[in-house]
């Protein structure tokens, strides 16, 4: 919402500082996003009077003017090309050196041989309109030399307010002025309308029109029927005859321009003025175009069509309210009128609608038609149903003041179910309880009264009457908020006080996430964050019904694909050594709601460690064994109790298998769109188990010395290291403490298809010192079992 500083000044009848206004509104009502000075770029333009107009000696279309630009200086010669320049009149004048809107700096220069001391300006040159046929003739008594923006009163500030959805009252100047007035101690009074009202012409309006608790009525020969009171709970119509549609007076045009509205014609501008002053949308339409003449407020018939003001044909539905004549819709209620019934230059007699439309209805209509307007925006948020007669009366006065015409009959006020102000009871002790400090009752009353609440004590409580413009205030706590914000949140202390600890334990999932992150960071991986939206990466991917694009139409079911895209992004930036991990949520289609859980994934490519000059040659790139290490690490951290096993099906890779056989993770080389210089890429992913972990128990450190043995074995085809290790451990028993592979060899001396694998064995007896011959016996037992069960023999050396 844009408000004009000058407009607020008119309502509060005092000068205001835009910065101060901004601070007060921000701290007590609603945040101000920006304060924009208007017409700063016209600061160099002055008022000048033309003293004499002569012909230019060398050009028929140019004139040579003697100009009084004030400041006590001599009259200046100015060359002017406008046909409308006249002696004695006053115009905007840009002296030499002035900077015009758009940044052009005016130089002293010769025009057809005559030097011109500056320039008389058109509206267009000043950025004040499209008119450039002639210079802008001013109707001002200001002395020559006065700054143009001061003489016209257009120096202003736009104050841009971020009005929250629950405060429709702040969508107009009166509402904003009310809040400001409460803060500075001033009362809002609507300024008199220049040129009005003339009592004789508004005779029918000297009093409020009577409320009719009915759905029909006649005003000045127009038949009005309210057939949809649900959509339009209160509906008022006035008829103004004999208006003259034309240009608005300058004051009105300036008011609208100051809030970013383009002046259109005096009638439309008057209704817009009321909209921005009182938050009452109005609709003026041409009586001559109304068949009947009748105004029928009804639900639209399905398929009924209307060409709206913007020239688009709209198809209505029965969920929308339409304002119709005897035959067709002429207005989409609360949203936009038809091009046909629009006020035009020929309009003589007006029908003026002042209505309250049901907010939900307007919102649905606006969404269905994808059409919004200043009116629909306000109706959606709820306007002041009780303030309508005052708004309509002021609108009529304004229209008659700026466009002439007269009212022959009182307006019609159809209100089948009249509403009263809402009354809420406020307990002063509850105010203190919730706000934490004692606020005296008179202060509570003063604060609430300051913004239009009516407060009366009743049975130890306060009976608070809520004005019609505050639909958001519905319960006691809303009034307590009013007290707090009007007092100012900054006025409350912020000292910590004792509190009781809560009953909620830390979420196990958060603990598990932190643990696995720590492990992977220690292993040298960098944490990445990827988008959980993407293309489908499996048959059970969860689709989004309303995605923003086809590329982001599904929720991820794994993290690795997203991480691969990050690898490709890094490659594109010529990063070669990349180790990323992510801990994030993944989704799968389930029965009913999607299943979601936390997944842990990593991707690895590039050098195993940073190169060091002392080692000369390049550091080897990571391979599947680095992958296996990181996968085992991740599984141990994320899913303890799971085994890492070779993947089945012949492909290189591993899976993490839960007790019971469920696969909860996998690791394998990845195919990606890699540049030639990139290293092989590997990835792993495992489901995070949130279960609480077992304590790590202490195992006594050994006191006895170990005995070590190296043994080289020949493994026939198909025999795995895991099998060898199992057999050896089983046969040698618990004294075989550690078993490590330290070499693998294929080639001369080993039968084809076989391989030599060398193991380093560590034996230890926790109770006594092992003797060499005991170890030899254990090893022999192991070798015997290996040969018998797996055909593995000791390698001849």
């Amino acid at each position: 919402m844009i408000v004009s500083r000058r407009w607020l000044e008119a309502l509060l009848d005092r000068p205001l500082d835009a910065r101060d206004v901004s601070d007060r509104l921000t701290l007590h009502a609603a945040a101000v996003d920006a304060v924009v000075p208007l017409h700063q770029d016209l600061g160099d333009i002055l008022i000048a009077r033309v003293l004499e107009v002569k012909k230019h000696p060398d050009a028929d279309r140019l004139s040579l003017c003697l100009v009084d630009a004030g400041g006590g200086g001599k009259p200046l010669e100015v060359v002017c090309g406008a046909p409308n320049v006249q002696t004695g009149k006053v115009y905007p004048y840009a002296p030499v050196g002035a900077v015009l809107p758009g940044g052009l700096k005016l130089e002293r220069k010769k025009i057809r041989g005559v030097e011109s001391n500056g320039m008389l300006c058109s509206a267009k040159e000043l950025g004040l309109g499209a008119d450039h046929a002639g210079i802008l003739e001013l109707d001002t008594t200001a002395a020559p030399g006065t700054r143009f923006i001061d003489a016209l009163g257009i120096a202003d500030h736009q104050i841009v307010i971020d009005v929250p959805a629950n405060r429709p009252d702040l969508l107009c100047h009166k509402g904003v002025a009310r809040e400001l007035g409460a803060s500075i101690g001033a009362v809002v009074k609507l300024p008199a309308i220049p040129g009005g009202p003339a009592d004789s012409r508004t005779a029918g309006l000297s009093a409020r029109p009577p409320v009719r608790q009915s759905a029909t009525g006649v005003v000045d020969g127009v038949d009005v029927r309210l057939e949809d009171p649900e959509g339009a709970p209160r509906y008022m119509i006035a008829v103004i005859r004999g208006v003259k549609v034309g240009t608005s007076p300058a004051w009105l045009a300036h008011r609208l321009s100051a809030v970013g509205q383009r002046p259109i014609n005096n009638v439309v501008d008057a209704t817009n003025y009321i909209l921005f002053e009182l938050n009452q949308p109005l609709h003026a339409f041409d009586l001559a175009r109304l068949r009947g003449p009748a105004v029928v407020v009804r639900r639209a018939r399905p398929g009924e069509k209307i060409v709206t003001l913007d020239g688009v044909t709209r198809t209505l539905t029965a969920d929308m309210t339409a304002i119709c004549d005897a035959e067709h819709p002429t207005i989409v209620a609360g949203v936009m009128g038809s091009a046909e019934s629009e006020v035009s230059a020929d309009t003589r007699d007006l029908v003026l609608e002042c209505a309250y439309f049901q907010p939900t209805r307007i919102r649905r209509t606006r969404r269905a038609l994808e059409l919004s307007s200043e009116s629909s925006y306000r109706f959606e948020r709820g306007i002041d149903q009780l303030g309508m007669p005052d708004a309509l009366r002021r609108a009529i006065e304004l229209i008659i003041a700026v466009a002439g015409g007269e009212v022959r009959a009182p307006a019609l006020d159809l209100w089948p179910e009249p509403q009263q102000e809402r009354t809420i009871f406020l307990r002063p002790e509850r105010v203190n309880h919730l706000l934490g400090v004692a606020i005296e009752r008179p202060e509570v009353e003063r604060l609430l009264t300051g913004v239009g609440f009516f407060v009366a004590p009743k049975d130890g409580r306060l009976a608070v009457q809520v004005p019609g413009w505050r639909p958001d205030v519905t319960r006691e706590v809303d009034l307590i908020e009013e007290v707090a914000r009007l007092k100012g949140y900054d006025a409350f202390p912020d000292e910590l006080r004792a509190y009781r600890p809560g009953t909620v334990p830390d979420a196990p999932d958060e603990r598990a996430r932190a643990r696995v992150r720590e492990q992977l960071v220690r292993a040298g991986l960098l944490e990445a964050r990827t988008m959980p939206l993407g293309p489908p990466d499996g048959p059970d991917a969860v689709p989004i019904l309303n995605p923003m694009s086809a590329e982001e139409a599904y929720l991820r079911r794994r993290l690795v694909p997203g991480l691969m895209r990050r690898i490709e992004y890094n490659w594109a930036n010529r990063n070669r050594d990349i180790r990323l991990f992510e801990v994030g949520t993944v989704f799968r289609r389930g029965t009913g709601a999607p299943e979601e859980w936390t997944s842990v994934a990593g991707v690895l490519t590039g050098a195993r460690r940073p190169a060091h000059w002392s080692e000369g040659a390049k550091v080897p790139d990571m391979d599947i064994w680095d992958l296996k290490y990181h996968f085992e690490l991740a599984v141990a951290a994320a899913a303890p109790g799971c085994n890492v096993e070779p993947a089945t099906g012949g492909a290189v890779g591993w899976v993490a298998v839960q007790q019971g056989g469920e696969v909860v993770g996998q690791a394998n080389p990845l195919e990606a769109d890699a540049p030639v210089w990139a290293a092989p890429l590997f990835g792993f992913e495992v489901r995070l188990a949130a279960a609480e972990r077992d304590l790590v128990g202490y195992r006594a450190l050994p006191l006895q010395p170990p005995v070590e043995r190296d043994v080289a074995l020949v493994l026939p085809p198909g025999v795995t290291a895991a099998q060898v290790s199992d057999v050896l451990r089983r046969a040698a028993g618990p004294l075989l403490e550690r078993l490590e592979v330290f070499d693998e060899y294929r080639g001369p001396g080993i039968p084809a298809g076989h391989r030599g694998v060398a193991w380093h064995c560590t034996f230890r007896d926790p109770e006594r010192t092992l003797r060499e011959r005991d170890v030899d016996a254990l090893l022999a037992r192991g070798l015997e079992a290996l040969e018998g069960e797996l055909g593995v023999r000791r390698r001849e050396s």
């Binding site: 959606e380 912020d494 909620v504 830390d506 040298g524 944490e527 988008m531 990063n575 994030g584 949520t585």
Partner: protein, 342 residues
Amino acid sequence: MRDLLAALAELRERLKEIPQADERRLSDLKTEILGRKAGALTHILGRLPKLEPSSKKEVGAAANALKREFEAAFDARERDLKRAAGAVTGVDLTMPARAGWRGGLHLVTQVVDEICDIFRGLGFTRAVGPEAETERYNFFALNFPKDHPALDAQDSFYLGGDLLLRTHTSPVQIRTLERYPPPIRVVIPGQVYRRDPFDASHSPVFQQIEGLAVDEGISFVDFKATLATFARRFFAPDTRVRFRPSFFPFTEPSAEMDVQCQICGGAGCATCKQTGWMEILGSGMVHPAVLENCGVDSERYTGFAWGMGPERIAMSRHGIPDIRLLFESDVRFLAQFAGGTR
């Protein structure tokens, strides 16, 4: 005996030679004095058994003391020489060290942890909830009216039926209130979704940290105190904080909390749009309707709640101009914060 004591005194003089000795001289000295065969002190010690008991004690004590002194002096000199050797053998110690890869947490994770840790110090535990939510948890139980503009499909990602991707972490307020009795003090970090196109300042997916405190007697003062304390601990002890009115369906009174702009210190700059303030979080006293929707007695219990965006806070605190940097996962970016945020 006299001659022996004199010999010891003479030998003692030679201690002075040790600190100046080079490696070879040191070795010679050692042999000369302590050598097993011809060492001068060894020789004296060798004569002890032949002495009379009275002088034996005196000379023996003196000789052994001197021996310890020599041993200590030789050791000290050897250490010095060894240390010096390291520096003078022509090693260029400015050459780069041998390194391993350094891992690191994402900046946003670090900021989330930092924030949650501060609240932990104020008694808040960490809670979480699902990202796919029902409209009831995401909107209605939070006192959004049925036709609130926030329910527009254009703002949320729908999954079918009444399911959507949560648009804030606030539904976890409801889940917590339904499951645990007051007193409640939780912070709720998590991922949320809005239908905003990805640009420099918007992401369709981002992190939020929600907070909720509910107990008897919690007031607006406690609310302000807790959040202002957080701001001073997170930014700086003298950080200025202000609260101003706002609107959220699930809080009443509602407030936004601003801290003095971290870029200009409050003087006004482009980042804070010349206001001198930075918006940090939306907050307020828990709306009684929210408590009632969860079966909590709203007369007896009161509370406060807030929500903040760790990405935005991280961006403003660390001067990151574009939110997309947080999702690109360029290793050069990630490595900048691998050592922490300070």
